[in-house]
Symmetry: C2
Subunit: 365 residues, 2 copies
C-alpha cells in the first residue's frame, strides 16, 4: 500500500478463479478511502460498486474530481466521513486500475484480452478481502452494495460470514432473472458482433464503438424508467432540426438525450471489461449450492440489514429485494425493507440523492 | 380486384402523403378476405395489423397455411366467419404485396428504397379506404386494430368518422411514449448502422442481417414480459453445452430461445419496411391537431367500443388504453375497458388465444 488517494494491493499468485483457472501472475486491486480509520478499526464501511464505476466514490484532498456517489459519501454527507472510514474498491475485471482483460501480462507486455480467466462475482468478492486485511480491519462496520455491488456484498458475507456487522443491499438481487439476462445478452452480442471487436483483440485506438454505443443506449433505456421519461421528455420535439435531415434521424428530445449520453460513455470503458462483468452478473447465483436464500443466510453474523429498492427496476425488480428481505426476516435478522418513491428506475441510487441520502443517513446515524 | 385469396386494389396517382410528398406512381394495396359479404354489406369487419403481419390473417380454401391470427378468425372462431366478412389489409409500406420501399419503380424497374416517401399511420389508413370502397362497403360492422393497427384504426375513424359501427382497440395507444420511442430508435439504429444496410440500398442477397437480428432480439425481449419468462425459463440452463464453448456464448435457455427466434424472423421482413413502419409508430399522434383525445373523438359515429390491454406492456402500457377509455367514456360513448390477465406482454393478443378469444367472441356475439 502507498499513501496516495488511489491505493492498491497486489495479490500474489496463484489466484484460483471460481471456474478453476489458476492465474499465475500478480493481481492488482485498486481502492480509494475517505475519512479516518479509528484506533479500534471498527468504523470502516466498504462500498462494492455496480458494473461501471471506478473506486473514485467521492472527491478527496488528493483527487478533487467528483466521485460517482459524490452526494452520498463525504463530510456531513449521508455516509459521513467525519465518523466513518469509507473504502471503495474497483472490481476485479474492471478497467480503472484493478486487473482485468485490459491489463498487461507482465511477461509478454501485451494485454490479456480474452486470455484473462472468466470472472465471477465470487472472484470479485474474494479479491476484495486482501484490501480489508491489508488495512488491518478484522470486521467491517458495514458493507454497502448497490446493483452488482449487492451481489458482491452477498458473496463476501457468504465467503466470510463474520466480515461485517451490517449489510446494506441497494437495488440488488441474489441472482439475475431471465428478462435482465436477455437484455445483457443482447448488449454483449452488440459488442461482440461489431467487426472492430476482433474477437476481443481490438486496437485501443480503434474500439468497437458502434457496439459499445448500442449496448450503452440499451443500458440507458433499461436502467431508467418510463415514468421518468414521461415526465422529463414526453413527446417533446428537438428544436431546429435541419432541413433535409435523415428520414430516420432523431426528432424527439428523448432520442437526442440517449444518443448523446451513450456517445459520452463509451470512450471510458474497456469493451472486454464490460463483457466480463456483464457475464458475471448473469452467472451469479447466491443460492447455487443450497436450497434457497434462507438456508444461505442462516448462519451469518450480521446485526442489522437494510434492503432498498424502487418500483420500476428492469434490472433487479423489487421482487428481488422482497425475496432477500423475506429470507433474512424468516431467519430472525434485524432487517428493514424500503421501497423508495424514486422514479429513476434501477439507476435511482445514482440520481435520487434525496431519497437514497435520507435512507442511508438514517441507517448510519 | 380479382378473386384469388390475396386480392389487391390499385390506387391511381397522385397519392399525397401526409408529409406533402406527391407520389406519381400507382400504389398497390393487398388484402385478404374470409367469409361472405352479405347483401346489405353490413357484416364486414376490417382488421388493421401491427408492424409485422401480412394480410394472411387465417387459412382459407385458397391458402391453407396458418395465418397470424389463426385461432381468432375463421369459422366458429371468436371472430366467426360464418357470420362476418373479415378483411385484413397488408399495410402500405410493408413488404407482403402492398407498396413500400422494397416495391419496384415501374419506370426504372428498380426498388424505390429510401426514395419512397416517408409513411405515416395516416397514409396507411387512407390507403385502406379504397379497399373498403372497392368492396362496395359504405359502413363497416367494425374495425379491429391491435398494436400499430390500433393507431391505423384511430386514424381511419378520424379521417372517415362514419366508417364503422364498432371499434376494437387492442394493446394500442393514441401516441407512442418516450420509453417505446427509445426502444424503436435503438432498433432502427442497429439496422442503419449495419454496414450491409448501405444507406438503404442493400443487395437482396446480402441483407443487413446482423442489424435485423439485433433489432428483432430487442423486439422479442420487449414485446413479451418478465413474468412470462420467469415462468417459462427462470434460470434454466441449456443442456449439453459443448466443452470449450465461447466465453460469452449462451448458457441459459432464455438466451437460446431468443437467439433462435430472432434468427428465424429476419429473413422474412424487408429492413427498410421495418424502418418506415417503426418510424410511423413513433411519429403518430392522434391528438396532434387538437387539445386532447376527448376533443378528437367528440363527433364520431361509433356505437360500441371495446378497448383491451394487459398488465406488462412495454410498447403501449395499459395507461395508454386507460387514456383512450377515459376519452371515449367522457364523451358518453358505449365503451368497455378490459385488462386481460395475460402474461405475454404486448404480444399477448398473438399468443393468449384463450383470454383474447373469449373477449372478442363475447363482443361479436
Amino acid at each position: 500500500m502507498n499513501d496516495i488517494a488511489k491505493k492498491s494491493v497486489i495479490i500474489e499468485p496463484p489466484f484460483i478463479f471460481k471456474n478453476g483457472s489458476v492465474f499465475s501472475d500478480p493481481l492488482t486491486i485498486v481502492y480509494e478511502t475517505l475519512g479516518t480509520l479509528n484506533t479500534k478499526k471498527n468504523n470502516a464501511i466498504l462500498v462494492t460498486t455496480g458494473l461501471s464505476p471506478s473506486a473514485h466514490i467521492a472527491s478527496t484532498a488528493d483527487d478533487s474530481s467528483p466521485g460517482w456517489w459524490e452526494n452520498i459519501v463525504g463530510k456531513d454527507k449521508p455516509i459521513d466521513t467525519n465518523e466513518y472510514f469509507v473504502i471503495c474498491v474497483n472490481s476485479l475485471g474492471s478497467c480503472f486500475g484493478s486487473s482485468g482483460p485490459s491489463s498487461k501480462d507482465p511477461e509478454s507486455g501485451k494485454r490479456y484480452r480474452l486470455s484473462f480467466p472468466e470472472i465471477s462475482i465470487e472472484d470479485i468478492a474474494s479479491s476484495i478481502k486482501p484490501v480489508i486485511d491489508g488495512l488491518g480491519i478484522e470486521r467491517l462496520k458495514a458493507i454497502v452494495g448497490p446493483s452488482m455491488g449487492g451481489m458482491t456484498a452477498l458473496s463476501l458475507i457468504n465467503q466470510y460470514p463474520n466480515i461485517a456487522n451490517e449489510l446494506v443491499l441497494i437495488s440488488a438481487a441474489s441472482s439475475s432473472r431471465p428478462f435482465s439476462i436477455a437484455l445483457r445478452s443482447l448488449q454483449r452480442s452488440m459488442i461482440t458482433s461489431d467487426p472492430d471487436w476482433k474477437e476481443g483483440n481490438y486496437n485501443v485506438d480503434d474500439l468497437p464503438l458502434e457496439g459499445m454505443k448500442h449496448a450503452r443506449f440499451l443500458g440507458m433505456i433499461t436502467y431508467r424508467s418510463p415514468t421518468e421519461w414521461n415526465k422529463r421528455f414526453g413527446r417533446k420535439l428537438i428544436q431546429n432540426i435541419a432541413e433535409g435531415a435523415d428520414l430516420f434521424g432523431n426528432r424527439f428530445q428523448i432520442q437526442d438525450y440517449l444518443k448523446r449520453r451513450s456517445d459520452d460513455f463509451i470512450s471510458d470503458f474497456d469493451p472486454n471489461s464490460y463483457l466480463y462483468l456483464s457475464n458475471a452478473i448473469d452467472a451469479f447465483d447466491f443460492t447455487e449450492d443450497s436450497h434457497d436464500i434462507g438456508e444461505k443466510v442462516a448462519n451469518l453474523d450480521l446485526n442489522r440489514i437494510l434492503i432498498i429498492g424502487v418500483e420500476e427496476d428492469y434490472i433487479f425488480p423489487f421482487q428481488c429485494q422482497e425475496d432477500l428481505y423475506n429470507a433474512f426476516s424468516n431467519q430472525k435478522y434485524s432487517v428493514e425493507l424500503l421501497k423508495l418513491p424514486s422514479i429513476n428506475g434501477h439507476d435511482s441510487f445514482l440520481v435520487d440523492h434525496e431519497n437514497f441520502g435520507s435512507a442511508l443517513a438514517k441507517f448510519f446515524k
